[in-house]
C-alpha cells in the first residue's frame, strides 16, 4: 500500500516539477481563461441580469474548456521525451501511474479554476467570499469527475494522430452529466441558498466520481500497455 502510494507520489512529483519549470501550460491556460472571460461578456452583452443568470453555466464552461487544454496533453510530456516505453516497462501496478497523473491534473486544474473564479469575481462582480465553502465543495466534486475520465482518455489519445480532435469528442459527451450536476449545484450556491438544496446533485456527482475513478483504476493497465 505504502509502496503504491510512493510510486503514485513520484509521478505527481515529477509532473509537478516539470510543470513548474516549463510553466508553459499553466500560463497559457490562465491567459486563455482571461480571454474567455471577455468573450463571454461580449457574447452576452451589457445586460447585467442576463450575465448573472448565465453565470453558473459560464463558469463551468470556462472550467471545461480550460480542462480540455490541460487534460489533452497530460501524457504529452512522456511522448515528447520518448519516455512512453520507459513507463510501460516500469514494474508494478500501472494504476499507480494513473493515480499520480490524476493527482497532478487535479492540482493543476484546481489552480486554474481558482484563478478563473477570482477573475469572475472581479469582472462580474460576484461576492465569492460569502459562498466560498459550498462552492469549493461543488468545484472539487466536479473537477474530480472531469479529471478522472480526462486522465484515462488522455493516455489513450496521446499517441493517436488526430489527438486534438479526438480527445474533446470523446471526453465532452461523457462529461454531460457532470456538467449538468455542477451547473445546477453552482446555481444553488451562487444564489446564496443552502447547500442542502443541491444534495441530490452532489450525490449524483459523488456517485459519478466513484464510478469513473473505479473504472479508471481498473482499466488503466489495459490502456497503458504495449
Amino acid at each position: 500500500m505504502i509502496a503504491y502510494a510512493r510510486r503514485a507520489f513520484i509521478v505527481l512529483w515529477k509532473d509537478w516539477l516539470i510543470e513548474r519549470r516549463s510553466k508553459s501550460s499553466l500560463n497559457a491556460v490562465v491567459f486563455f481563461a482571461l480571454i474567455l472571460l471577455f468573450l463571454f461578456q461580449f457574447a452576452l452583452g451589457p445586460d447585467r441580469e442576463r450575465l448573472h443568470a448565465a453565470l453558473p453555466g459560464l463558469l463551468w464552461l470556462g472550467f471545461v474548456l480550460a480542462g480540455l487544454l490541460g487534460l489533452g496533453g497530460v501524457f504529452l510530456v512522456e511522448r515528447d521525451n520518448d519516455c512512453w516505453e520507459g513507463l510501460l516497462l516500469a514494474p508494478g501496478d500501472k494504476s499507480a501511474i494513473y493515480v499520480g497523473k490524476l493527482a497532478a491534473n487535479l492540482v493543476l486544474m484546481t489552480l486554474v479554476e481558482a484563478v478563473i473564479l477570482a477573475l469572475f469575481g472581479v469582472f462580474y462582480g460576484i461576492d465569492l467570499y460569502a459562498v466560498l465553502a459550498p462552492l469549493a465543495a461543488v468545484v472539487v466534486l466536479g473537477t474530480i469527475g472531469i479529471a478522472a475520465v480526462g486522465t484515462l482518455f488522455g493516455a489513450m489519445t496521446a499517441q493517436v494522430r488526430s489527438r486534438e480532435l479526438l480527445f474533446p469528442v470523446l471526453l465532452l459527451p461523457m462529461q454531460v452529466p457532470v456538467l449538468l450536476a455542477t451547473v445546477s449545484a453552482t446555481e444553488v450556491v451562487l444564489a446564496g441558498r443552502p447547500l442542502a438544496e443541491a444534495a441530490a446533485w452532489l450525490t449524483l456527482l459523488a456517485v459519478a466520481d466513484t464510478v469513473y475513478l473505479a473504472i479508471g483504476l481498473l482499466t488503466f493497465e489495459f490502456v497503458f500497455d504495449a
Binding site: I10, W13, K14, D82, E85, P91, G92
Partner: protein
C-alpha cells in the same frame, strides 16, 4: 535467461521476423548485427515485451513473457533509440524518478554513485535539456543499470558516445555480466560488436543468419561474413 522460439512478426503484409529462435544465458553478451531495417529493433522490442510477436514463444528468466509480461518486466532493462530523459529535470532528479517508480531505494548516495559510473556526477544538478545526445545516453544507461536488470537490452548503444563514453559502456556491461545479467544489443557497427560481445549474430531477412562466439572471429572474418550474408539479401 532468454529462450525465444520460432518468433514471427508481421506488420500487415510485411514479414519482419521469420522463424527466429534465440537463446541467451546469464552473463552472455550477444551482439545483433544487421543493416537498417533488418528487424533488429523489432526483435529487441519483442524481447522487451513491448511488442507481441505474431507467433512463437518467449521465456525470460523462466517466465512465459507472452502470457505474463508484467511478471517478466521487472527483470528487463532497456535503452532504446530514444533516451527517455525528462529535459526539464536534472540528472539526479531523472534518476530519482525512475528509481522510485520501480520501487527501489532512491537515496541520493545511490543515485550519485550511478552518475559516477557513467561520468555524469559533475552535472548531477544540471537540467537534462543542456545535455548532449551522448550524455543523455549515458544518463539512460545509468537509469537502467540502477535497476540491476537480469536482462539488458540496448538498441544502438554506441551512437553518440565518444571514446570515453564507450569505455564507460564497456565497464558497465562487464560489471553487469559478472553479476549474471544477460546483455543483448543491436548495432550496425561491426567493430563494437566484437569488442563488447561474447557472441555475435547477424540478422538478415528476418532470421539469424549467423550466431557464433566472438572469440572465434577476427574483424576481417566478421566483415566478410556480414557482407556475404547481407549482399544475398539485397540489404
Amino acid at each position: 535467461m532468454i529462450a525465444a522460439t520460432r518468433l514471427r512478426k508481421r506488420f500487415g503484409a510485411a514479414v519482419v521476423l521469420d522463424d527466429l529462435s534465440l537463446s541467451v544465458g546469464s552473463g552472455e553478451c550477444v551482439a545483433l548485427l544487421g543493416p537498417n531495417g533488418a528487424g533488429k529493433t523489432t526483435l529487441l522490442r519483442i524481447l522487451a515485451t513491448l511488442t507481441r510477436p505474431s507467433s512463437g514463444s518467449l521465456a525470460i528468466g523462466g517466465i512465459d513473457a507472452l502470457a505474463r509480461p508484467e511478471a517478466a518486466r521487472p527483470l528487463i532493462g532497456m535503452v532504446g533509440h530514444g533516451s527517455c530523459v525528462y529535459e526539464d529535470l536534472t540528472a539526479i532528479e531523472n534518476l530519482r524518478f525512475w528509481t522510485a517508480l520501480s520501487g527501489q531505494d532512491a537515496s541520493p548516495i545511490r543515485l550519485r554513485g550511478a552518475l559516477q559510473e557513467v561520468g555524469l556526477e559533475g552535472v548531477a544538478a544540471e537540467r537534462a535539456r543542456t545535455f548532449s545526445a551522448g550524455m543523455k545516453r549515458r544518463l539512460a544507461l545509468a537509469r537502467v543499470v540502477l535497476a540491476r536488470p537480469r536482462l539488458l537490452l540496448l538498441d544502438e548503444p554506441i551512437t553518440g558516445l565518444d571514446r570515453q563514453g564507450r569505455k564507460w559502456l564497456e565497464a558497465l556491461v562487464l560489471g553487469l555480466r559478472t553479476g549474471g545479467t544477460a546483455v543483448v544489443f543491436a548495432t550496425h557497427n561491426l567493430g563494437s560488436g566484437l569488442d563488447l560481445a561474447s557472441r555475435v549474430a547477424i540478422l538478415s531477412e528476418g532470421r539469424l543468419a549467423m550466431d557464433r562466439p566472438a572469440q572465434e572471429l577476427s574483424g576481417e572474418d566478421l566483415r566478410a561474413m556480414y557482407d556475404s550474408v547481407t549482399e544475398g539479401a539485397g540489404g
